[in-house]
């Protein structure tokens, strides 16, 4: 009485003999490969990714580029950069983006502003990501009182008024680059934490977690070796969408005078300067160039994030409503 009896009854063809090339013929692809395939078709997302990479390079090599241009970001050119009445000169051969009220090169300042924007935008996102992932994993995995406590805490932070807290903290500690970084990191993580928690709640019920436990994995190993890799697509998408939020928030704080302080070049600070005494009415380039820079980098991250989300979750957008 062996199981071969069953074969005779019910297995005319059977499974294709598991040979080396069998899976290749089924054309199985890893989830990542499939996602990349879909992403490659999204032209806007690809253009955005290229733009972001170029901008990061520009930010890294800002000193080299401005050296080639010959105008440092904080160097004033009273003779060439200001006209006879002391007003800024517009875009031209000498100053591609014009000059500001102190005769500084707007192009150089926009290039240096990218450093601040990207450093804070990406830096704060990374910090938020790490905290959010760890807290979310713990809350979702342990559940019970741990989850209740952490979730309540995250809800509380999510309902914090961002600008009010920024004002309060600046009132106490004074404005600085670090304050903006920590503030944004602090405000970013609860949203990630909540998302991750939800995913972990579902993931921990999957059998592979039980399988890991039956092999003798401890909780830490299950959380960070088994569950964590399954969270990465979500983390990638959400981080890409958090960066532009942080960039805009940094610019807003700098615009309000709560962020990065002058003379450090930041886009928000430059726009704020252009508003001083309604200077931009006569020198539009002071408003337009940093605004365009801000708009383009934000749009690029948003488009890339949107494309990534569609690529990683093709299920989204399937309606049952019919015609």
């Amino acid at each position: 009485m062996s199981a071969t009896d069953l074969v005779d009854i019910s297995d005319p063809g059977g499974e294709p003999a598991p040979t080396a090339d069998a899976p290749a013929k089924i054309a199985g692809r890893t989830p990542m490969q499939l996602a990349l395939r879909r992403l490659r078709k999204d032209k806007l997302a690809i253009i955005s990714a290229v733009f972001i990479v170029l901008l990061i390079l520009v930010a890294i090599f800002a000193p080299v580029i401005t050296a080639v241009i010959g105008h440092g970001p904080n160097v004033q050119f009273p003779n060439t950069g200001l006209d006879a009445f002391g007003t800024p000169v517009g875009p031209g051969k000498h100053f591609l983006f014009g000059t500001d009220e102190l005769g500084r090169d707007v192009l150089s300042r926009v290039i240096y502003g990218a450093r601040v924007s990207l450093a804070i935008g990406i830096g704060a996102t990374l910090i938020s990501l790490i905290i959010g992932m760890v807290v979310g994993i713990f809350a979702g995995f342990y559940g019970g009182p741990v989850d209740t406590f952490l979730s309540r805490f995250m809800d509380l932070l999510l309902s914090f008024p961002f600008l009010l807290l920024a004002i309060a903290l600046v009132a106490r500690f004074g404005p600085s680059f670090q304050l903006v970084l920590y503030l944004l990191a602090f405000f970013g993580w609860p949203a990630i934490g909540r998302l991750v928690r939800g995913q972990v709640l579902a993931l921990k019920e999957r059998e592979f977690v039980e399988a890991a436990r039956s092999l003798g994995s401890n909780n830490l190993r299950i959380m960070f070796v088994d569950i964590l890799p399954n969270l990465l697509p979500l983390a990638v998408v959400y981080s890409t969408l958090l960066v532009p939020i942080n960039i805009v928030a940094e610019a807003t704080l700098s615009f309000l005078g709560l962020g990065v302080q002058l003379p450090t070049a930041s886009w928000g600070g430059m726009i704020s300067e252009s508003q001083n005494g309604s200077l931009y009415q006569v020198a539009w380039w002071l408003l337009v160039f940093p605004s365009i820079a801000l708009f383009l980098v934000t749009l690029a991250f948003n488009l890339l994030g949107d494309g990534l989300r569609d690529a990683l979750d093709p299920r989204s957008g399937r309606s049952q409503l019919g015609k």
Binding site: S159, L164, I167, A168, S278
Partner: protein, 322 residues
Amino acid sequence: MFSFVVRRVIYLVIVLLILSFLTYLLFFGGNPGNIAAQVVGRNATAAQIANTRIRLGLNHSLLYQWWHYVTQAVFHGNLGTDFQNQEPVITEIKQALPVTASLTIGGAILWMLLGIPIGIQSATKPRSIRDRLSTIFALTFLSIPSFVLGLVMLYFLFFDLTDHAHLHWFPSGTYVPITQNVGQWFVHMILPWISIALVSAAVYTRLMRASLLDVLGEDYIRTARAKGLPRRTVLFKHGVRAALSPIVTQFGLDIGTLLGGAVITEQVFSLQGIGKLSLTSLFSKNLPVVSGTILLGAAFIVIFNAIVDVLYAVLDPRVRLS
């Protein structure tokens, strides 16, 4: 239901107390001598500073000071006195609040009218031309920081029109109280409203689209269609209604936040609202005003959170009240 509301109110009061304590700690928890010196001015003598310390109650323990502050605020509507012009903080807030409220409520109506229909359109025909257009609309305005949008609108619709074309379509710069002249109030608010609404409308479009797509993907939608209900009925009665709950949450949070100071828009359009008041006081180190406005803002957020919770319980029978 009643006990749920009572519990929610108790929770609200506790959160407000904690928040007020943290705010107080943050602002006045430092060196009392420093604060007194700031109040008196640069060239004050040591005796004057000491006097001021006593007058402001800075010699008492922080907890006592805080309790005094809270009881004064709750029972006498007293939030302290402006360091600079010695006016009660509450008077300044009373002057600023109608500005912020006008801005917030008008803006909110506008962004809901824009965001929700576009979101519904977009979700009912995913990947259609309309959906793509609405995605482009949403992503564009999501990517423009609201202060940039405000400044650009000021530049083109105000300066350009007024100075070059001499068209006074969109006046700006001042707030006309609604009690004084409704028409002027309305005209003066148009630019700020559009500025505050466009970015939010983008957010609500995305939120509505995602939420409705989620709902429309459910099997019960197919079941309702299979029963023979018309598409519109299913869309609105089963789809949109269920999809609105995350929108309601977000709306409550946004209104609460903005009532506490639409800082950016007020700054761009020089509207003397709560946010502008808070910001100017911050730069002139006028601590009682800053802490007063921040507490007010926090209170608005917490209260609107609670209202959303109660609304939820009323609207959605699935929410357990325990």
